[in-house]
Symmetry: C2
Subunit: 476 residues, 2 copies
């Protein structure tokens, strides 16, 4: 493979030595043809348009953190002039303006490549709930691509683009990361603007970022993270340069009695090995009972929040129910049985569970969980479209309901070759803390980037990242 | 009138010079007989029981901020051994434990006198929606007592007790204050525990405090304000000693175009005079457009929140609908038409309105509003049980939805002799700031305490309050 690795430092090093963005764009489209999966993108910039955007950047400007960096956008996020479908043709519209976050990324020099496939209305964790045909998992076509941000995960997994935008309510910005050996950064709620994003579950969702490395995901996050007064759910969240992580963080993991792997001993071994890496880096590991977190997780689809999804599809459902996939209808239409009183009862229950969870998490700097308990195949999903989907949410569903931020970090491959992935989780606003810890964790052990075969070569180290302006202080 | 004025400094001065708490208890019950309104209290400590509680206090202990201070409790808040009815006999139960806040007050030496009448299920701002017969307004029996904490407002207005507990969602802790010439302190949501309180609108309500003076209300608040881990809605809110208010606060008032007095020119003149008092104390007054705040106010009964009230009565409603007052049913049962999707749509709308309101309030230290736009009579309420009730909420309904704290402060009587009252409002957590400003405001001009005829004699001044431990620093 002679391609330039699709990471920001590699791209910027190439640009610095004279490679043109046109060459990189050519690589993107060549790679896309090589991958030959027509279901990753639902619409695309033509190669000529992308080349024009590259040419419009002018001379290489290292001050622009995403100069010449190709990226993809989940097709529930607006890009001016491209259809937004939310994977539902009957819902489609063509926006005239970029979503707030897309505009920020482009201002910083990123080059838009295409809109990616997703579980319809971002409802699902599998990536196969789409009328456009499911993208293939980038590593193993037998396993699902993950969802709902499936196309975005696969596009990065193949190294077609350097990063992509997803969205995340239940785990849509993390599960595809685990399944495609990449990083999934799920910011604190309100950090990234929702202006120009088709809502799924508006009160508990966020735009998310996939990349091949933690540093790249965090770089895109720092660019996208800006307070948007037009988004009623926006919050003032800071995205400071990463600092050296706390030397001996206290990290909670699910206790032996409460951890769940669906019988997958290989996944269990992989998680234990990742925890050993954290321990080796000085972390104090504490086992905690995860029951209250699972209880919260159950509320996302069993509780009132499914009614948020209903508000999005209600009109279409009445006009043209067949326009919505049966499985999506089945999941979302549960809301029809729920009253406003039920919604408030759900919120009371969440408040009570949150208080219990808060107590369980006291004294911890962060949590480390398996991103997914096990893998599920396309065949399994065909046999049961609901069960495996729910199972994927074991360690993800509770996160937004509890107002936590998270980052799914690749760890060394499992003994059977499947990707290893753990997720670091912390309280709202601690995005930089978990990213810094993720940076250290991804550098431990040996792995490749996504499905590309490009080795993770340990850069950026903290020092290298510091020269790139990403790191605030190196004192360890 | 030879009674000892029912304020904490007067009581404590009396105790210090050898008056016994038994003498004060005797005064309470004598006064109660003089007032001769059987509808203020729904249940009471017998005089003998109150005497026993007084005797159990032992020798006068000035370290206990509420030593020997008689108080009343709205009958939706538990006092061990006394029925909690929420003004609905079919709902009644007898708790074995004090509500968290009641326990705190008793630990500080307060003496429980009785449970007060209220608008059923704390739904109303008038005080006449009760099957037990409405208490008479303490000042003028033609006007309503105010609600929902009507009995609590009247008991303090008459000087039967020194302070009382109410609850406040729409304005139940402020409207009775305006109607009975007393102080109504509505804390930041989550400052006072809801453990042992019958919920009305759980996500946007709080226990509140009535007293004859700002200092007394704030003293009771400092005692009651403690984080209760058992209350899922509890927050860590501080109740520091009052400090001298900011010398030139910026205070927002409704603009000429948006202010509402229902044509009551006397109320308008009274409000303008109060604003002049603030101006005279150095405040910078800014007129702001109140439209976004009225829009928020409308959501409380028109929007989804009425479904919170429905969760409280749902079981009873199915079992025995006649047990609930027709007007209460009429208000609350609107929730039956609301879906969970409607509830979330309501929350989205509130978020959007909150963002607009936030912008409108930028740069202000606090708001000053008329507590009520005008007065309504018992006869008016008999003719129309809904309209005047809604009108009372003009300046109160938006406060909890916007997570603000407030204090209704008596100002000099109107030209027609009816009580003057304004409410100071500020962002969550600023309880001490508005109380300090309220302390200064109530000392400006001349007035009596409640309906008692006791003059407000300007004490406690900041200096006097400082010796009482209430004031942190006097530097102006």
């Amino acid at each position: 493979m002679t391609d330039i690795a699709m990471t920001i430092p590699d791209l910027h090093a190439a640009y610095a030595r004279g490679v043109s963005p046109e060459q990189i764009i050519a690589q993107v489209y060549t790679r896309l043809r090589e991958v030959d999966d027509p279901c990753i993108f639902l619409s695309m910039a033509s190669e000529a348009d992308a080349q024009a955007a590259a040419a419009a950047l002018g001379p290489y400007d290292p001050a622009k953190p995403l100069w010449g960096v190709p990226f993809a956008v989940k097709d529930n996020i607006d890009v001016a002039g491209y259809e937004t479908t939310a994977a539902c043709p009957a819902y489609a519209y063509t926006p005239t303006q970029d979503a707030f976050v897309v505009a920020k990324l482009r201002e910083a020099g990123a080059i838009f490549i295409g809109k990616t496939n997703l579980d319809q209305f971002a409802t699902g964790l599998v990536g196969v709930r789409t009328p456009y045909g499911a993208p293939r998992n980038s590593i193993d076509p037998e396993i699902v691509p993950g969802g709902s941000s499936g196309g975005s995960g696969v596009a990065v997994g193949h190294g077609i683009v350097a990063f992509s935008l997803g969205t995340d309510t239940a785990g849509s910005g993390r599960v595809p990361a685990a399944l495609n050996n990449i990083v999934g950064l799920k910011p604190t709620l309100g950090a990234l603007s929702a202006t120009g994003v088709v809502p799924a579950c508006r009160s508990v969702e966020t735009v998310s970022i996939f990349a091949l490395t933690v540093a790249d995901a965090y770089t895109a996050f720092t660019v996208a993270c800006a307070y948007d007064a037009a988004d009623a759910y926006a919050r003032h969240i800071s995205a400071p340069p990463l600092s050296t992580p706390k030397s001996a963080p206290v990290i909670g993991i699910p206790s032996r009695d409460s951890i769940r792997f669906s019988g997958d001993a290989v996944q269990e071994a992989s998680f234990n090995a990742a925890v050993d890496l954290l321990r080796g880096q000085g972390a104090e590991i504490r086992e905690i009972d995860f029951t209250p977190l699972y209880d919260v997780a159950d509320m996302l689809y069993e509780g009132a929040w499914v009614a948020e999804r209903y508000t999005v599809i209600e009109d279409l459902l009445h006009k043209d129910p067949e326009a919505i996939l049966p499985v999506t209808r089945q999941v979302i239409c549960k809301a029809e049985a729920l009253s406003a009183a039920d919604a408030f009862r759900g919120m009371y229950r969440l408040k009570e569970l949150s208080r219990i969870a808060e107590t369980a998490l006291e004294g911890l700097d962060m949590l480390c969980v398996p991103t997914i308990p096990t893998f599920h195949t396309v065949a399994e999903l065909e046999a049961d479209p609901i069960g495996p989907n729910s199972n994927f949410g074991t360690y993800t569903n509770f996160v937004n309901l509890l107002d936590m931020c998270g980052i799914a970090v690749p760890v060394p491959a499992r003994s059977d070759g499947r990707p290893g992935s753990v997720t670091l989780l912390a309280a709202a606003g601690k995005d930089a803390d978990i990213a810094a810890s993720g940076l250290a964790l991804e550098a431990a052990g040996k792995r490749n980037l996504g499905a590309t075969g490009w080795p993770f070569n340990g850069t950026p180290t903290l020092e290298a990242a510091a020269t790139d302006g990403l790191i605030l202080a190196v004192c360890g």
